[in-house]
């Protein structure tokens, strides 16, 4: 693929983002400037900004990749990301804005008057933030690889550096306008090329989208295996091999006969046009109906996986560290609700597009599934379907959109993680304020970069799903019970955070480090939310009831603050900001 236009588009996206971020930083220095300035921000603009930060690499690349590889069940991802916003809207948006809390640790400490709960919440912000950052970095590596053929680590390091510069130099989050712009850029970058792709599909004679036979290579295709894989061949095929098959080093023509074949990392295989694309990871290639109809894509315990995913995404959104802080930019609780409603519309609008890339990808770029790079389908489809300069330009547009997705989500997350690190963790090192911020930002970026380089690439949307699972099992019960239930106690909250968050994070860690396993164990570990979320709720409620004497004395006043409209002149106590840092 010729890389000129795409690389240019990426560089322009990055430079514009960093420059506007740095410029805007001069305008607003502190959270309260940010807040005051926000009174002039309309709910529409504010909602675009929230949508811009929310639509990450998982939305832009991951959904299409999952649909390409696994079919219709994967549509629960975009549906879940959107339903999560409905949960956020009806259960927490207005009360959280009224709480005056700027971060989840602030809310935890202010609501429960406990530094221990704050410390647990701080740890979880860092864990969830890092988990969410890893796939953003991996997505960037994948994008640069697909666009310019650079090794994956180049993209990971590059986006890490850019985010570090952008955050250290600007604190991009303060710039509502940048984030709002990123939303519209992403919507444009995913929908305009799609229009041309559908035209190209029609010009191609409208090949059947849900054809029954498994996908075939559209033309002679060279496949380079990035990691070791077990291919499942159903029809024997003559391929040109350079590398290792079943432990045997081969350079030349080989016949793959039906059955499993073990392919070493770095092996290249040249398949002839019209050959059936083999299955991968020990799964036979999916026929059209297995791919197009629910619960038949060959993953173990599909029904459990779908329900657990629904729980993670529905309940997890409200607990993401970079989501809450944006609601502070609304002038009052009523505006927070209206903003959340607009976000629901904007996010839903975006999600109409990515699955179509996955569907077209099954016809035009099925080899991506084979190499474990199905997340690249949005990036590679334009050049595969539209010949010449047109395809290159469309490819440049989607590459720019993908980078907008990494940058906006990553910087939002890095600011959140660096914020809690510099406020709660680093002060004990007694560094200067400037140095503290630098160290915090470096840690916030550096750790996920290292993990992205070392860990398994489980697919962008899948990894993000894991971060949602931890959030659903920790912050979701904390926020819901904290807002709607007076009898929550500090010990109850702490127990729930430790048990729910700890077990979910543990399951996720095993999945990342060891890789997905099979059967029920695999399903329970890869999708922990279905058991860890109810467990967290149960723990918080039971332990709170056992420690009923600890209910904080000011809870009635806090309920007035959380639930009454601001237009009533009532005694609301003070903002829930913990130790008054803001």
């Amino acid at each position: 693929m010729s890389s000129g236009p795409a690389l240019t588009a990426i560089v322009v996206t990055v430079v514009v983002t960093v420059l506007v971020g740095a410029y805007g930083n001069r305008l607003s220095r502190t959270p309260s400037d940010f807040y005051v300035a926000s009174r002039a921000v309309s709910p529409g603009l504010n909602a675009s900004a929230i949508g811009g930060e929310y639509l990450s690499a998982a939305s832009f690349l991951g959904i299409a990749g999952l649909v390409l590889a696994n079919g219709v069940d994967m549509l629960w991802y975009p549906v879940g990301y959107t339903v999560g916003y409905l949960f956020l809207l009806v259960l927490v948006a207005a009360p959280l804005r009224r709480s005056g809390a700027f971060t989840i640790p602030d809310f935890a400490e202010g609501r429960l008057q406990s530094r221990r709960v704050r410390a647990a919440a701080t740890t979880l912000v860092v864990v969830i933030g890092w988990l969410y950052l890893i796939p953003q970095m991996q997505g960037a590596g994948l994008t640069l690889r697909a666009v310019v053929g650079a090794p994956t680590w180049v993209g990971v390091l590059a986006v890490g550096m850019v985010v570090l510069l952008a955050v250290a130099g600007g604190g991009m989050r303060s710039i509502t306008l940048v984030q709002a712009f990123q939303y519209w850029l992403k919507l444009f970058a995913i929908s305009i090329p799609l229009f041309f792709l559908v035209v190209a599909w029609r010009a191609d004679g409208s090949p059947e989208l849900l054809a029954e036979p498994p996908p075939q290579f559209a033309e002679t295709t060279t496949v380079e295996m990035s990691s070791e894989a077990v291919l499942v061949v159903e029809q024997s095929v003559r391929v040109v091999v350079d590398g290792t098959l079943d432990g045997e080093s081969i350079a030349g023509v080989a016949v793959l006969s039906p059955g499993e074949v073990d392919v070493a990392a770095g092996t290249t295989l040249v398949f002839p046009a019209g050959a059936e694309v083999p299955g991968v990871d020990g799964r036979a290639p999916l026929s059209g109906s297995e791919w197009a109809y629910p619960l038949s894509n060959g993953q173990s315990e599909p029904l459990y996986r779908v329900y657990s995913l629904m729980i993670a995404l529905f309940f997890g959104t409200m607990g993401l560290p970079h989501v809450l802080v944006r609601f502070y930019t609304n002038p009052d609780g009523r505006a927070a609700r209206r903003t959340a409603l607009t976000v629901l519309g904007l996010v839903g609008l975006f999600y109409l597009a990515p699955p179509v890339y996955g569907i077209l990808g099954r016809i035009y770029t099925p080899e991506l599934v084979l190499t474990g790079r199905s997340d690249a389908v949005v990036l590679t489809l334009p050049a595969a379907m539209v010949p010449g300069v047109g395809g290159q330009l469309l490819g440049a547009v989607v590459a720019a959109g993908a980078f907008a997705a990494f940058l906006s989500t990553s910087s939002g997350l890095v600011v959140s993680v660096a914020g809690v690190l510099s406020q709660d963790v680093l002060p004990r090192w007694r560094l200067s304020a400037r140095r503290t911020f630098q160290v915090a930002t470096t840690l916030a970026v550096g750790v996920p970069v290292l993990l992205a380089l070392a860990g398994q690439n489980l697919g962008v949307a899948n990894m993000v799903g894991l971060a949602f699972a931890v959030a659903a099992s920790s912050f979701c019960p904390l926020l819901l019970l904290g807002i709607w239930w007076r009898r929550l106690t500090p010990t109850g909250a702490l127990a729930g955070l430790v048990i729910g968050g700890g077990l979910a994070a543990g399951a996720v860690l095993v999945t990342i480090l060891v890789g997905p396993s099979s059967g029920w164990t695999g399903a329970l570990l890869a999708q922990p939310a279905a058991w860890s979320m109810p467990l967290a709720f149960l723990t918080m409620v039971v332990v709170s009831l056992l420690t009923a004497r600890e209910v904080p004395p000011g809870v009635r006043r806090i309920m007035v603050r959380l639930h009454t409209p601001e237009s009533l002149d009532l005694d609301r106590g003070s903002n829930l900001t913990g130790r008054g840092g803001h």
Binding site: V72, L75, W76, V79, T82, V83, Y85, L86, F87, L89, V90, L91, A94, L210, S289, A292, Y293, P294, L295, P302, L303, V306, Y307, M310, F314, R334, R337, R338, A340, L341, L344, G345, G348, L349, Y351, L352, P355, W484, R556, R557, M559, V560, H563, T564, P565, S567, L568, D569, L570, D571
Partner: protein
């Protein structure tokens, strides 16, 4: 999603309520001083809003949660097609999004009404 009962402190004469209550106003003072009346105002507000939230979530989620189960029952519903597009793709790819926005819109409208009602009750005593 009907309006639940409010605490019964009904004043029959329909006085014009001030747009915002001032310190020392009846209901507002009850809430500030945490009298049992103020507490019942607060409990009623929280309960009304929670009930509304749960009703909206139930309305959206009961059908959503049923979907995978229905698909799994081998009923053929997962394989239905409408104009050559399978039903699950239509439902999960397109139809859910406007329905979610509609549910959110209904929620916002009703939540604001509940708050206006609360304001009216608190400030007119």
């Amino acid at each position: 999603m009907t309006q639940p009962e409010r605490p019964r402190r009904v004043v029959v004469s329909r006085q014009v309520a001030p747009s915002t209550s001032k310190p020392g106003d009846g209901g507002g003072r009850d809430i500030d001083e945490q009298t049992s009346l103020g507490e019942s105002y607060m409990r009623s507000l929280v309960r009304t809003q929670l009930r509304l939230a749960l009703a909206v979530l139930a309305l959206v989620n009961i059908p959503l949660v049923m979907l995978p189960l229905v698909f799994s029952l081998d009923s053929g519903i997962g394989e239905l097609t409408i104009g050559s597009v399978p039903l699950p793709w239509l439902l999960l790819g397109i139809a859910v999004y406007p329905l979610l926005v509609l549910a959110g819109w209904r929620y916002v409208r009703q939540a604001e009404r509940n708050e206006a009602e609360f304001e009216r009750i608190v400030s007119r005593r």
